[in-house]
Symmetry: C2
Subunit: 362 residues, 2 copies
């Protein structure tokens, strides 16, 4: 199912191929975030046209609305959202962690009240896997106990150890003949000994891939880099490596050079909705430099009279002045065009990264 | 520029052709509303794919944001919003009328404070034409004095008479060699004598087309029908006739049979944003029947498990259950899909109307 096609000679970067029931994915790859079965503002046809290879959805959100039973009845999440490519779901661990005040963690799982309806749920490792299987996704994540930043070491240790116990329970739910591809998640916060221990314990379980979780939870960028340095060498070379929730373009290129194959992040879509655009500095960009791209805030008055195209790729036909106007007048088309720009940038970035690895340039 | 291609033998309906600098428009036609230079949620490419022949924008909104000077600098409104087809602009009369509390009408024009910025503007018949010319639109409207419903006769009479005087001032602004196609607007509320007087006075001015204004301002549907009966026979047969701001599908078919050629309405786009969908009852619809279509509210719980397609035309690939989910979870894609459905319905309706007239069936 997973192959390393080529290894960089100048870094740990790898060109990879992951075969799923819904198609092949070349890595390193980026997963646009479709939390509630839709990438905000975009149709699945647009995502296909953007050459997105895979989408990421969320177990927590989908179990609440519309519910796993409904999606199962419809066939699968692919059918429901009209996306024929691969889908990965996060397990819900990160989301229940963000419900800090209304959740109760026990060894069994996490009990929480859904903020809108007040309805009570108990999400366990077993249930998370069952839901992900019912959604019919290609790649599933183990249910983990995520701790924010900052957090004291005792708390992080506890959560890390629970994550290992839960990981075993998750793995035991998946039969060897199943096509469901399950990832284990390494926790341990910013503590070296905890990260090393977690990496050893999680990789001792025979998952189909390994993820680094508990990053992008507010810690300084340097801490994330440290975590990568500690953990990456402990991950098996023949399995995909996923850095969860990251990141800015330069963080992605950095992590790729440490050997990461998979990424997801709300940055391109969320920032688009606030008018922040990701743009290439030049057509031929050196991805090893720190400044191969720039961001602009289209709300800035200087763009009111800028009739140059939004970008040189998928939005040549619309000017920055027009996009500025759409944001100034709260026209919903504005967020949509900005989202198309940013996802195009991120997906092109991954394509360039793969080309660079192929050419031994990254 | 304007031709009647065929007349119905069973009603006053006409198949028409209007040539503009940005292309030919077959009538009767419907203009999707792009008030602030964008149809809410849609790209201009989508509007082209929906076979929209023309868009409608608004002088009042565009003079405030981004301003006529900016659009003129960019070339034209077509260039600014990336729409290469014809555009009609309303003159701003209707919009300043809705600013009731913060406007002051004099013979010269309407003084008003823009609600957001508080900035003062004076919109005159001359300025409205100048702005529409600067926007580079194909079809422009005379600046009229619109009165709401209900209103006492004295007030309606005053506004109607002012509309005539303003109409002359507007017409005098357009040179005979200009490609700008200018429409006069008939007012007079729900009063027969006033409507007849207005129709006579406005048609005495050599406009390129004639519109019936001051309808769809809150009056009962029957009153609108009366107004049409009084006015239509007074309109020249060799010029296009435009019923402003209407309407529901059955109102459009009714008006077509009275001889109306042009329509615009926010119903398909606005109701889409609230989850109301316009759908055909069957593939072969009798447009003379009262119930050739139906509307559904996709928010209704019964659609949660309805996996049938949204429609059989442009949204076959998405289910009603999915659209229901998008509305329930406030995913912006929901409004967009609903808008695509409703505009497809309205534009298909106009196409069917034209086919029916061709076949002497309407």
């Amino acid at each position: 199912m997973f192959k390393v096609l080529k290894k960089s000679k100048i870094s740990q970067a790898r060109l990879t191929e992951l075969k799923t029931p819904h198609g092949k994915i070349l890595g390193p790859f980026f997963m646009p975030v479709a939390t509630k079965a839709a990438v905000k503002n975009l149709t699945s046809e647009e995502l296909k046209n953007l050459n997105s290879q895979i989408l990421l959805a969320n177990t927590y959100h989908l179990m609440i609305n519309p519910g796993q039973a409904l999606i199962k009845k419809n066939g699968s999440l692919h059918q429901f959202m009209n996306w024929s490519g691969p889908i990965l779901t996060d397990s819900g661990g990160f989301q229940v962690f963000s419900l800090a005040k209304i959740r109760k963690i026990s060894e069994k799982g996490v009990e929480f009240s859904e903020p809108k309806s007040g309805k009570k749920f108990l999400l366990t490792p077993e249930l998370s896997i069952k839901i992900q299987r019912n959604l019919g996704v290609d790649l599933a994540m183990a249910f983990d106990d995520v701790v924010g930043y900052p957090a004291n070491k005792t708390k992080v240790k506890e959560a890390m150890e629970r994550t290992t116990r839960w990981a075993k329970r998750c793995q035991s739910q998946v039969a060897s003949h199943e096509s469901l591809f399950l990832f284990g998640i390494i926790q341990g916060g910013i503590y070296k000994d905890l990260r090393l221990k977690s990496a050893k314990e999680i990789t001792a379980i025979d998952f189909d891939g390994y993820a680094i979780g508990g990053v992008a939870v507010g810690e300084p960028r340097e801490k994330m880099k440290q975590v990568l340095k500690w953990v990456m060498s402990l991950l098996p070379k023949n399995k995909p490596r996923y850095l969860m929730g990251l990141g800015r373009p330069e963080e992605i290129t950095y992590a790729v050079r440490q050997g990461v194959d998979m990424f997801d992040c709300v940055i391109p879509t969320r920032e688009a909705r606030h008018g922040r655009l990701y743009l290439w500095k030049s057509q031929i960009s050196n991805l090893k430099s720190q400044n191969f791209y720039m961001t602009i805030n289209i709300n800035n008055a200087k763009f009111a009279k800028d009739f140059s195209p939004i970008n040189q790729t998928n939005l040549k036909q619309y000017s920055k002045a027009y996009l500025h106007h759409l944001f100034q007048t709260n026209e919903p088309l504005g967020m949509r065009l900005a989202t198309l720009n940013n996802l195009k940038f991120y997906l092109d970035l991954m394509k360039k990264i793969r080309e660079n690895i192929k050419n031994q340039a990254l």
